[in-house]
């Protein structure tokens, strides 16, 4: 590691840090996924299950990650090296980076779809006479050239922001984009709630069906939403936390506000989307197609629908794009610290690799679906497990709690934090991977998932064992310590 070049940037303001955390975690999933998962799983009952899991798992997990980032002031590999010591076990950080790159290879094409829809909203396509949403979507997804072009533009824009650096690039983007997204969604929600039939959408979304709390599917859906929508274990909170200033707070801003704030935007999306869907008699069970096929149909019959389409897709693009920028920053920060490359070279190398590996997903929607299923169900829990093993079993939660979590903290975090980080989150991650392996036993997706579970840890161990010599670092914490 080239310590000499690591003169770390800092967030200019606490607001910038908070918006970066929210911007990273509020992605396309919050806009289309949260509302329909909520509606399909008992409305208020789902919210209750989601809240319990959010506080029990996501909030402490994010606190731990942010505090480790602040403590180490390093990217993912460096931070986890501080937990494990140098050598093969620092490969836990490599696992996170590999998963992060894999995630971005199919997320960038999705951001490209949203960019395409946003550009079409400016040409007033969705309110043109004879517009047919399904035919439009089919034509788009059967045009690989356009999808590859959109993926290329997205990665070029991501590289452009990252080349500007943490303060001038990432922070400047998120402090405008995240409030812009909230304003766009609030405007849509206000408009939607004044449409005849909107109440049906609210009833569908928020009616408390208590019996759903007795169904395991409700809890699994709530767990998935609580974990994956908060980006726990992706290295985002470690990276964003590593740029915190000396007196900044990790638990209140990095854990509590991030988790609750991110979920709040999902709730706002529910207030915006389902009243619209019901007001225009559309299918609320459209799932993933809700945004790209179902929702684009509401703008044509809506008064000044052109404007609302633009507002919606600009907001949607801001949500997706800020996530893409911050998720890519995780790899950029780490590779910059661990390689002899300059920051600009690193940005170009990382975005170039993601662009190249993303071409199959940009070319084929079915390949993208395959990658998404594999990495969402096995890759992301594996990355979270890697981070929590580093913190929970090497650094130990109690050392992190007394040295970093409660340092300059706005919330006091008690010893309840320790068993959650050490036992509960790892067990939940193993449970998620086992559940999806059981549910998809023998499928190609399951085989690909198992391949990820085997190859990524081995690759991480071998890479760090070969390159990470003990004498290369001096500031590592030996495993052990009391809990």
């Amino acid at each position: 590691m080239s310590d000499a070049k690591v003169s770390r940037a800092e967030w200019g303001t606490r607001f910038g840090f908070l918006m970066a955390m929210i911007g990273a975690m509020v992605g396309s999933g919050n806009i289309w996924r949260f509302p329909f998962v909520l509606g399909e799983n008992g409305g208020g009952a789902f919210l209750l299950a989601f809240l319990i899991l959010l506080f029990l798992i996501a909030v402490p997990g994010l606190m731990a990650e942010t505090a480790l980032g602040r403590y180490s002031e390093k990217g993912v590999i460096g931070a986890l090296r501080d937990c494990t010591g140098p050598g093969g076990m620092a490969g836990l950080g490599v696992i996170v980076i590999l998963v992060n790159i894999a995630l971005m290879t199919y997320y960038s094409p999705v951001v490209g779809w949203i960019l395409y829809y946003m550009l079409q909203s400016f040409t007033l396509e969705f309110t043109a006479a004879g517009f047919e949403a399904e035919a439009f979507w089919t034509a788009f997804t059967n045009s690989p050239g356009i999808m590859v072009l959109m993926h290329t533009i997205v990665m070029a824009l991501v590289a452009g922001v990252l080349v500007l650096g943490i303060r001038d690039g990432v922070e400047r983007l998120v402090v405008y984009a995240v409030p812009g997204l909230v304003i766009a969604l609030a405007a849509i929600a206000i408009r939607a709630l004044t449409l005849p039939g909107a109440a049906e959408g609210l009833a569908f979304t928020f009616t408390v069906q208590w019996e759903y709390l007795l169904i395991s599917d409700t809890w699994i859906a709530a767990l998935g939403q609580a974990l994956f929508s908060t980006g726990l274990g992706w290295g985002i909170a470690i990276t964003v936390g590593s740029y915190l200033r000396e007196y900044d707070d990790a638990p209140l801003g990095g854990g509590f506000f991030t988790a609750i704030g991110e979920a709040s935007i999902g709730v706002l999306a529910a207030f915006a989307i389902f009243p619209l869907v019901f007001a225009y008699g559309l299918d609320p069970d459209a799932g993933a197609g809700l945004t790209f096929i179902t929702l684009v149909q509401v703008f044509e019959p809506m008064p000044i629908g052109d404007l609302w389409a633009i507002i919606f897709f600009v907001g949607f693009f801001l949500a997706a794009f800020t996530s893409a920028v911050v998720i890519t920053e995780v790899t950029v920060t780490t590779v910059f610290e661990e390689s002899p490359l300059s920051r600009n070279q690193t940005v170009l190398a990382v975005t170039g690799v993601i662009w190249l590996l993303g071409l199959p997903s940009a070319y084929s929607v079915s390949f993208l679906d395959f990658a998404d299923f594999t990495f969402a169900n096995w890759g992301l829990p594996l990355a979270t497990l890697a981070v929590m093993i580093g913190i929970g079993w090497y650094f130990t939660p109690e050392r992190l709690r007394v040295l970093s979590v409660n340092k300059t903290s706005g919330l006091y975090v008690g010893t309840w934090f320790n068993p959650i980080v050490k036992y509960l989150i790892p067990v939940v991650m193993v449970g998620i991977m086992a559940f999806f392996a059981y549910e998809n036993f023998g499928t190609n997706e399951m085989i690909a998932g198992v391949a990820v579970l085997i190859t990524f840890p081995i690759a991480g161990y071998l890479i760090m064992n070969y390159f990470d010599k003990p004498e290369a670092t001096t500031d590592t914490a030996a495993p052990g310590g009391d809990d």
Binding site: R14, L18, L47, L193, L202, V208, F257, R399, K407, A478
Partner: protein, 116 residues
Amino acid sequence: MTGITPVVGQILGLSIEAWIGMIIAIIAFWVLATWALFKTLRQDERKLELVDRQGKIETYSPQALQDLRDWIEANPDDPLVEEARAEYNKCVESLNEVDEPFYDWSQEKIDNLEKL
């Protein structure tokens, strides 16, 4: 357009269950998130003001500093104990030097603190 009054009527006509769900959502998410946002921004503002005026602030609350001390005493051989001791002593020094602490420290508590 049928006007806003019938829409308000429809929304007011929602079931009790739907109202409970909406209220849970608004309070549990938006109210808490807004509270956390303002609390952390106000704390940041106050910290910056104290640092500007005094040059520094203490780094731990009374309870957190006690936890740090307990951990140091319980783990004298830990590889990070020297770092923990330095953090503890830095906080004690800051408390003795600043006019106004950030956390809820009484003068009596500060006077009773000793470096490790």
